[in-house]
């Protein structure tokens, strides 16, 4: 993508870095926010992680070699930041990641920033039952239509394994929704 390449070159120059970074934030904040939000569930947590993600992007942009697309690299950072955030939170609260996840879903009922109906709440509960990698794959494919090729670069997993994960996730979710 030519725009991305141009933005990247501006990000690496001292005199244009700040302005280019503002453009980068403007361009990607929404996509990254929703990606993070689906992982950490609460808005406040998503806000923290989004801030950290952009700060990490800013600090590490010089190390980005262009081996992958800029946006997949940023998604990878956002994913890692979200997972690290959840791990730290679980450790701080002295609970398992599964319990943390369950609590987050339970809190959705009273969350002012969740306006889902019954089926949407049920879907979130179903997603929470999945192993983390299947949660990530399902969210990225089902809600965001991210291509397996890009997902493979973000999650550093083969396309075949991601397709299998997605199909298993869909099947499990459907079974969960029908059983409940």
């Amino acid at each position: 993508m030519q725009n991305e390449a141009k933005l990247l070159s501006l990000l690496k120059l001292d005199n244009s870095k700040e302005l280019a970074f503002k453009t980068l934030v403007k361009r990607y904040k929404e996509k990254l926010y929703w990606h993070i939000r689906k992982i950490v569930i609460s808005h406040d947590d998503a806000d923290d992680v989004l801030q950290n993600t952009f700060i990490k992007i800013f600090r590490n942009i010089d190390k980005f070699k262009g081996d992958s697309k800029l946006y997949t690299w940023m998604y990878r950072i956002a994913t890692n930041e979200s997972i690290s955030f959840l791990n730290s939170k679980a450790k701080r609260n002295q609970v398992s990641n599964e319990t943390l996840n369950e609590n987050a879903i339970q809190n959705l009922v009273a969350d002012v920033y969740f306006e889902g109906d019954e089926i949407q709440l049920k879907l979130q509960k179903a997603i929470a039952q999945l192993p983390r990698i299947q949660q990530l794959v399902f969210n990225m494919r089902y809600f965001d239509d991210i291509k397996y090729k890009d997902m493979s670069s973000i999650l550093e997993t083969s396309e075949g394994a991601l397709k299998a994960s997605y199909h298993i996730a869909v099947k499990k979710i459907k079974t969960y929704l029908q059983a409940d």
Binding site: K56, N80, L177
Partner: protein
Amino acid sequence: MSINKIHKNSPFKVPKEYFERFDATFFNEIELKTSVKETGFKTPDSYLNDFNISIPKISKFSNLRKLNKKYSFYVFRTAAALFLLFMFSLPSEDTQEISYEILENYLINEGNQSEAFIDVLTLEDLNDLSILEVSYYEIENYILQNASIETLLIY
């Protein structure tokens, strides 16, 4: 050679039971998407429009931050050692035995302890840490048990 014959002898193959599974996976997804497509999450009013990042200025503290991530266990261990030293130096009648577990719980409950330590330490303090003798085995062991692999990969 007829077209049918060419098709039958095609060298291309599909994974085992691909066509059988295709229907199931395809219709599962379609069915699910028909019933629910959106997450239901929302943001505070104009959150995304107003979202802004205050760009961190490059300063000597940016290097300290890197040290923090990479060598936070030095800081952690020094703080723990100083804490223990302080406790053991108190008069014996008032001393209370502190287990590693209690100490670790205390530090965990204090939240972002490594961030807090790094804020009060100067570069000089960090240089002083070089007197600590820590084996590579201990470092590796600490990282394996305490650091998140995702964070390490980014650095």
